[in-house]
Subunit: 151 residues, 2 copies
């Protein structure tokens, strides 16, 4: 989303917000060592919930089912995760990290956390609080927005 064309003051603000997001994503990609963000999120989630169904994983990471299936297949061939059918429900597949996947994601996540810290370098606790509040308000505005459909 570019949005750069907007002529209004608020439009420019939102554009800046979208823009910083893109910058963050790009910079972030530079230090993920070949892992896409989604794949990294999947592994990181498995670091927390050591054994979890694909469905749950999908909900936590918030991408499409199909994408999760494909990523997990890939990660399995790479030896990062294991997948086994649940004994109690043959529909579900339980996913867990391999030893290799665990050590890998642990280091990557630390790197990520460090990266995130640096983005807010120089922000006081108070400023961080204010910023969080404002983001919340925008999120609320977005969610409660009436659907402005073109008529």
């Amino acid at each position: 989303m570019n949005l750069s064309i907007s002529c209004t003051e608020k439009g420019r603000l939102i554009y800046a917000l979208v823009s910083v997001n893109k910058t963050i994503a790009q910079k972030f990609d530079l230090c993920t060592d070949g892992f896409s963000q989604t794949r990294m999120d999947l592994l990181a989630q498995l670091e927390v919930d050591t054994t979890i169904s694909q469905k749950e994983l999908q909900q936590r990471v918030n991408v499409d089912n199909a994408a999760v299936t494909r990523h997990l297949k890939h990660l399995e061939t790479k030896g990062m995760i294991e997948r086994v059918r649940s004994a109690t429900d043959n529909r579900v597949i339980l996913v867990s990290l391999t030893a290799e996947g665990a050590t890998r994601i642990t280091r990557l996540r630390q790197q990520k956390d460090e990266f995130l810290e640096q983005l807010l370098e120089g922000f006081t606790a108070d400023e961080q609080h204010q910023l969080t509040q404002m983001i919340q308000r925008i999120e609320t505005n977005a969610l409660t927005l009436p659907k402005t459909t073109v008529t």
Copy 2:
């Protein structure tokens, strides 16, 4: 990008920022009447620069050359734009809106501006200023970041 796993305070803030961005993009898609955001940006740019080369267009909208070519081809078949080779330089293709494209994008852009306005509903001028400043600082931090590569 999910980033939801982050354990640090700042990490959660950045996550909120990324998250609100996703929400905005999703809501925005609901009112674009079948136009992807990039296609809309292309048309909106043509509303400003009435005749422009693909190269310039690509730089303004900030997506890949290949993507621009494909979008413009599509928009051409839909009768939204026209493309003609430049008389002075046969390499470049000049793009412009058709009458239909013009009326279409005008309405869509107005809708978009209205949407953006609503996202910041309730923000005072002062708050908007503060928020802009903070976003700027994050952007600066991101851009000046040393490349933290996994070693």
